[in-house]
Symmetry: C2
DNA sequence: ACTGAAAGTCGTTGCAT
DNA sequence: ATGCAACGACTTTCAGT
């Protein structure tokens, strides 16, 4: 993945597309000050370069009854490559795990898990986390409130 | 925010819109097995009910040179309502802070911060976090690797 | 690189079931 | 609730600058 030059037009395009992924090419062109054709070519280029990885609808966890967010700190027993790889593979497959990062600090991984309620979380832990091989410690920090939650990159 | 009934069509629609927020209504209708008009009316309803909060382009941090993710654990000195509210307000305004949750456990808040490099992170801490009133402790856990990172809710 | 126009596709609405 | 049909708007391509 290599870097590339981005001018003000590209930055504006990315900004508006983060804000509204379904904005019409015409509106976008108006907002950034390009003709629709020129704007469209730039968007295409940004997609092909990989700067735009995709588009997604943002759903509301509250409205959909998936209101519980938990930060799960996981430490593995031994840091062998293969047990780590298997952990990552399994965890990636769980739909309840929205995010998983390998981190510095006391834990090896931090996961953000989203479930409808506490009993679902209990089931998730017992059936999907505690059954994994090589788990040393699991610590759950429950989200009391969501202050901010986007994936919008600063440009 | 009240719950509402969702049938299989709605679930399929949300699933596909999470996967591709720019899918055309016709393709979506094909995929879920509805006519374009019926599908479009359901999408409209889901938007109005708030189940769909919006749409966004997903950008690639690596390609855009915003490769460093840090989990910042923040504890406040006294849990007065007003200092907490001010902290939340300020932190929400920082573009580097993609996510912020009030959590249980040792810290009061966990923030996910994204910056281009370590020196930018240093500046972020000194100029934007350490200057806030009532900060008791700040602990930084750096993301070594991103295993999974979506906002896709399990349906 | 950009603009403007042309052609095809799609979103959106109204109406009937 | 659904499908069909029609109009207007849009996306996308291509030639010219």
């Amino acid at each position: 993945m290599k870097q590339f030059e981005m001018d003000t037009y590209d930055r504006k395009i990315l900004h508006h597309l983060q804000q509204d992924g379904r904005i019409s090419n015409q509106q976008l062109a108006d907002n950034v000050g390009l003709s629709p054709a020129a704007c469209w070519r730039r968007v295409r280029a940004l997609e092909e370069q990989g700067a735009i990885a995709g588009y997604s609808a943002l759903l509301s966890p509250e409205v959909l009854g998936q209101a519980m967010s938990v930060f799960v700190l996981v430490s593995l027993q031994r840091h062998h490559i293969d047990s780590t790889a298997e952990f990552e593979q399994q965890v990636s497959a769980y739909p309840e795990v929205l995010q998983c990062f390998a981190v510095t600090g006391n834990a090896d991984f931090v996961l953000r898990v989203v479930v409808p309620d506490m009993s679902s979380y209990d089931r998730f832990l017992n059936e999907k986390i505690f059954t994994l091989q090589g788990i040393a410690q699991v610590h759950s920090n429950f989200a009391l409130r969501e202050i901010k939650n986007t994936q919008h990159l600063p440009l």
